[in-house]
Amino acid sequence: MKRRLRDVPWAIAMLLPSIALVAVWTIYPLVKAIQFGHLTCDVTGKKCRDVGWGRYWDVFTSTQFQHSLGVSLKLMLLTVPTGLVLGIGLAVLADKHLRGIGIFRTIFSSTVATSVAVASLVWFVLLQPQIGVLADVFSGWFPVLKNPGLLNDPGTALLAVAFSSIWANLGFTFIIITAALQSVPRDLYESAYVDGAGSTRRFTNVTLPMIAPTLLFVGVVLTTRALQTYGEIALLTSGGPNPEKPTTTIPYLIYGRTSLIHTDLGTKSAAAVLLFLLSLVLALVQFRGLEKRVHYGS
């Protein structure tokens, strides 16, 4: 006990750098945003007056926020499960001791070195309806590629964005899951094999439980990323096509080029805080819901 007490100053000293960073870059802005959420301010954000905490409810129930909430949730449902399944699939495929497997691992993980901006621009150019390669080659089968273009059609715009997003995130998912696969003890597979388990059985009964903590982690990260999707929207659709705005995610609603609340510090902050709460609740639900089924090993 005494020893423990003696360690406290040291512990604090060691933690101080992290605490300072988190306080300055996360806690302080968060507190500020929560405060601004019930104020209404002039353009400089300096002359403000109180409009009450009801602002949060007004923003939450507003047509635009509800619409963007739907878009963000849809995008999450489109990207997270697909991203996870594809990531596991590619990782399992590449988890073989074959000659030249390194080449495939490099290819599969390459998108991790691609920023959202670069990935989006690549797809933007490919999908360009007038002179883009995909429109030129495939518009015979898929006229939507040309007229009005995948990103310009309200029915396909979100799918196209989701596709680009999945593609860009795949490298990250692949690397993390590959690392998890490699840490699964080989003797587990061997004993399962001896016990007569086939490859499907070995995957469901050995691999999946062993990499479950990693899947939970990847799932939470992908969910948060999906809710915070901004770069893809800014570069691919600007939240459009208008007037349906099927790709205006919550972050884009808050500070996109076409945001109506972009210069309204109070409303903007309230919406941002709501996004934070949403991510928090979803992360908690994921942890609570899956924790029991996740085996962290000994």
């Binding site: 507003s62 933007f124 360009q128 007038q130 009005p148 007037p243 972009h262 309204d264």
Partner: protein, 501 residues
């Protein structure tokens, strides 16, 4: 444990449901119910809670109460004065601006200017958020920020600098100066100017039996020529339309109102008093959108969607190999890049020499254009010497020789007539008259109050709202219905802005 998380999920789900059922107002109205004292949560777009506040803080600015511009303070300064300049030029435009600033620093020893680059939006955001000590000495902001900048009460109006230094403005385009003046106060100095022009494919004109050197001037000509092009099979479409908020969905509509010599917002476009509502849902607006919708309906025009994404989808429609359009409207600032790209010869149906440039067609074919681009503000640092230094730098950037170099290198329009007689711009225009079209349509602009564009706090947001309406009209919505809805939402935004500022 299990039940607890199930409960959490249920709670979240039901919250979403409750919210989805409760109708919901407009997000821009949030919080206003409290201030207005009305219990209505369904106040939506037409809410005018700020109207009374704005009425008080309106109109004529007392020039005497604005900060002075002691331009002679620089002479008494000891040593070199260091000033900062925040600007929104990127890519090749940034390179050119850096060149000009370097030349300025090398030309004298009194002032040394340092540049900070960002987008227009970032520059504005950073400027608004900064406290006095953190602000630059000179800031470049686009034309839609005039109201917001005056509301920051942080600038020295350049009009005061012009007065105290006896700076000669006689060579400047009157419309360029007027764009940055309200209630008789010249707030900023126009620097980089652009406006929309008509781009067309001369080869298609020839193939359709039209004179490739006579582009349409009026909207009626635009339609009849488009019909001829489509009927002759010279191109699939006559005109490529788009609905970006910085272009076809917003800015061009403002231009069309100026051409029709109509105000776009009240308060004489916000020039004589603070604007409180938009006027774009009047007959002029309805006629205009009905006309464009008609062209889409009879397939003489094609809608390429929201152009704000790339800024060149409509231009690429001219280069489309299977379904090209013959004409489109785009900012004059894109002429340089367009000729550069087409000059590579990668598009078989149009090369750089095939590009024709004409004035933007308007309702009656009358000339008239609003100033686009950006201007330079002197920031009130509270330090006379720095204010004087900022003004000295601005006078350099808007000098005739510098404007000639800037315009020749960038494709922007010079802000003064004497820049035309100086090289390199003189040679550029002589070699390729297409670069003079944007300039000429500004010179031809009549000197009437409607030739100064709308000044209203949330102009950018109003453009976004209108772009939405234009997009839905392009999809078939009745123009009057769409414009009325957009006007109501815009008026709500303006009322909210005026109440806050």
């Amino acid at each position: 444990m299990r039940t607890r998380h199930t409960l959490a999920v249920l709670a979240v789900a039901s919250l979403g449901l409750v919210a989805a059922c409760s109708g919901g107002g407009d997000i821009t109205d949030s919080g206003s119910a409290t201030t207005a004292g009305s219990g209505s949560t369904d106040s939506t777009v037409a809410d005018t809670s700020g109207a009374t506040t704005s009425a008080e803080s309106t109109t004529s600015v007392a020039v005497d109460s604005l900060p002075d511009c002691p331009t002679d303070a620089l002479a008494s300064a000891s040593g070199t004065v260091e000033i900062n300049f925040w600007h929104g030029m990127s890519g090749p435009l940034n390179d050119e601006l850096v060149k000009l600033a370097d030349a300025y620093n090398a030309s004298q020893t009194k002032v040394k200017v340092s540049l900070v680059q960002g987008s227009y939006e970032d520059t504005a955001d950073n400027y608004f958020a900064a406290s006095q000590g953190d602000r630059p000495d000179v800031v470049q902001l686009p034309e839609y920020q005039v109201q917001a900048m005056t509301d920051t009460a942080s600038i020295v109006p350049v009009g005061k600098c012009i007065e105290s230094s006896g700076f000669d403005t006689s060579a400047f385009l009157p419309t360029a100066l007027a764009a940055y003046a309200t209630s008789g106060v010249q707030w900023a100095m126009p620097f980089n100017i652009s406006n929309p022009v008509l781009f067309y494919n001369k080869k298609v004109f020839t193939a359709a039996g039209l004179d490739p050197n006579t582009p349409p001037k009026s909207l009626d000509e635009l339609r009849s020529m488009s019909k001829k092009i489509v009927d002759s099979g010279a191109a699939k479409f006559g005109l490529a339309l788009e609905s970006g908020f910085d272009s076809g969905g917003g800015w061009y509509v403002e231009q069309w109102f100026a051409k029709a010599q109509e105000f776009y917002v009240d308060g004489d476009n916000g020039r004589t008093g603070r604007a409180t509502k938009v006027l774009f849902n009047d007959q002029t607006g309805v006629d205009l959108l009905t006309f464009l919708q008609g062209m889409l309906n009879d397939k003489t025009a094609v809608n390429v969607g929201d152009n704000s994404q790339s800024g060149y989808d409509n231009l690429l429609k001219l280069a489309d190999q299977t379904e090209p359009a013959a004409m489109t409207i785009n900012t004059s600032a894109s002429l340089g890049p367009v000729l550069q790209v087409l000059g590579t010869g990668q598009f078989p149906n149009i090369n750089a020499d095939d590009v024709g440039v004409g004035p933007m067609p308007g309702p009656d074919g009358k000339p008239g254009m609003l100033i686009g681009g950006a201007s330079l503000y002197v920031v009130d640092s509270g330090d006379d010497v720095r204010t004087a230094a900022a003004w000295d730098f601005i006078t350099y950037l808007v000098g005739a020789q510098q404007q000639s170099e800037w315009a020749a290198a960038t494709g922007y329009v010079p802000n003064r007539t004497d820049a035309l007689t100086l090289d390199p711009y003189k040679t550029t225009v002589a070699k390729d008259p297409r670069f003079a079209v944007a300039y000429q349509q500004l010179v031809d602009t009549p000197d009437v109050p409607t030739s100064a564009g709308p000044v209203v706090g949330p102009l950018r947001e109003v453009r976004t709202v209108l772009a939405n309406a234009v997009a839905s009209v392009f999809n078939g919505t009745d123009p009057k219905t769409a414009l009325d809805k957009a006007a109501a939402q815009s008026n709500g935004l303006i009322a909210d802005y005026n109440a806050r500022n």
